[in-house]
Point group: C2
Chain length 401, copies 2
Amino acid sequence: MKFCLSVAALSFGSVAAFAPSAFTHNTMKAPASSSSLNMALPEGVTPIIIGVAADSGCGKSTFMRRLTNIFGGDVVGPLGGGFGAPGGWETNTLVSDLTTVICLDDYHLNDRNGRKVTGLTALNPLENNFDLMYEQVKALKEGKTVSKPIYNHVNGTLDTPETIEPTPIIIFEGLHPMHDDRVRDLLDFTLYLDISPDVKLNWKIQRDMEERGHSLESIMASIEARKPDFDAYIDPQKKLSDMIIEVLPTNLDKEDKKTLRVRCIQKEGVPDFAPCYLFDSGSTIEWTPSPEKLSSPAPGIKLMSGPEEYFGSKCQVVEMDGNFDNLQELVYIESALSNTKTKFYGELTQAMLALADAPGSNNGTGLMQTLAAFAIRDLYEKKSAQAAKAKKESTTAAAAA
Amino acid sequence: MKFCLSVAALSFGSVAAFAPSAFTHNTMKAPASSSSLNMALPEGVTPIIIGVAADSGCGKSTFMRRLTNIFGGDVVGPLGGGFGAPGGWETNTLVSDLTTVICLDDYHLNDRNGRKVTGLTALNPLENNFDLMYEQVKALKEGKTVSKPIYNHVNGTLDTPETIEPTPIIIFEGLHPMHDDRVRDLLDFTLYLDISPDVKLNWKIQRDMEERGHSLESIMASIEARKPDFDAYIDPQKKLSDMIIEVLPTNLDKEDKKTLRVRCIQKEGVPDFAPCYLFDSGSTIEWTPSPEKLSSPAPGIKLMSGPEEYFGSKCQVVEMDGNFDNLQELVYIESALSNTKTKFYGELTQAMLALADAPGSNNGTGLMQTLAAFAIRDLYEKKSAQAAKAKKESTTAAAAA
């Protein structure tokens, strides 16, 4: 389970490019036993809690960058270790002015040695402390501060807990955000990153073989070893999610193993969430954009939008197959999308351009992650407005009494 | 060649429902030897000439009704015969305030007995007087009156000619409007109604077997007999047309032999003609409309729009497969169409509703014919505006000299 190192390291290292102040924290001497990440929660606002489920190496780190980019503010974590300092791991938590991203690996019940004793993988629910997770998600949702454990991905140890104060948006990302009913019921919005086996293998080959020098055999063996627990405990959460981002091989050319087809499956009937669609609500539309307005490398580009059933639930799907040549031209696709939850026409393209160097910015993974980020921002703003209204009404009622 | 009887009869009989004054003409005693159809051509305007090519029984009559419906004005022809008076055939020409529809069968070189001598079909160019056709199209285009022959479909005779005065829009419809280069060069816009063999057989069965009691064998034999000349002389004109309306069996259900898929193939680069498209210019779009906004009987409804090549020419295609349940809901499809050449949103639906009883009003034949009619109106208006501008400039220049 080296994933969270990679999440934090990538998130931190890359976000740093856009938030220079993060470097200060990186070199800052953090307290030895705990770190306190203080972000004030506005009065009367309780946090909105988002669950993001995915296996390791599924692009969660990039998604977190897209989220924090859209929510704004400087990124002030993770402190210490990670990028360039493998021995100095101190937290998995990423914080910006509005957002706290908590990695659920911190709720592992045993350290790496402990799992050697039980013989179970970290994907097994028995290796995760759902009671504590529930208590802390509940406390944070109520605006309370918690003392959260830290799973040290470098050493595989459980380190001294850190203090987490609630911010307006709290993301719980990891293997099991929707596994436990009690936790799931507290989540305001849930997202599952569903990477098809073919794509996952390609990504792991690229990361672990090309970048880290692992052998193809060891990568295949690792995937194979994880598969039973993944299928049993992680995969079923997608049925329970409000939004599923599916990443599949392209349909445009059966020989092409690199180009991606990405589907954003949006459940109907989720409170405060109106699904995004192309051109016309309720229609099924397959769209090959005008090559004069959008250039794309072989095998081209094709989008789709329409109602579907997903494990018995009514959904609205937006799909993009293929890559952009020029990210600026995304504004043309943006013009065909409705319910993007942007505040002005062009904001979607602007958000993608701000992270143009991030993986997936030239394809549907970047687009769908950015759409998800805007949806989460919109949910937060609706919830804040409702809280402000409720507070005003109760103040008025109290004054009248 | 009983087609033109059917054209005129249907056109007259049905249009009468919307233009009560036409009944007056129907019962009016026309001069025995010739009829004069007087419609003044506005000063400075030369007629716009439209060629419409198609085999018999291909829906030309309905198309003419859609045209005259959109161009407005009372219909004042054909006089005499036709509907309910098979022996009284006197003209094939249909006239409204703006439009004259001339049937090219009137340029047959020989009467029915003459063709028995030559042993040629009326589809053979040798049986048609293209020299006279050219002279008269040219004269009409120059605003001159002509004395046009009449082919009597009932008797198969060539009757005493009738006087035709030019109206602002003149439609030449029949088997060979684009066959002769000289005639074709005079046409401002050309349209080909391309009915696929399967559909044509179905239509002939419906008309000739179910309505007229012919045997299936005789219908098949008649189609078979016409096929070589049709393929040699009629079909090649579609390559030369500005717009082709293709009528094909549905793709939605291979077992369904009645539902139609209709394609409007619009050439790029035709002067004063901007092709119609769905949602976005230059894109290829397949659209299954929201069933909540448009109800349709089995096998459903699907539209398509996009650029294509047609015999080496760049085209923009709009396609509709399937039927409407409720013609009122066409306004939803209209909302997705651009370059319809309507003057207000809803005019397309209104035009379809005005002829709701006409064949094809619940499917793509009606839709594409109506789109073609609006395109022709638009061409006429552009040409009139250009003529008015040119006249004003020459007046100004003359005054200045």
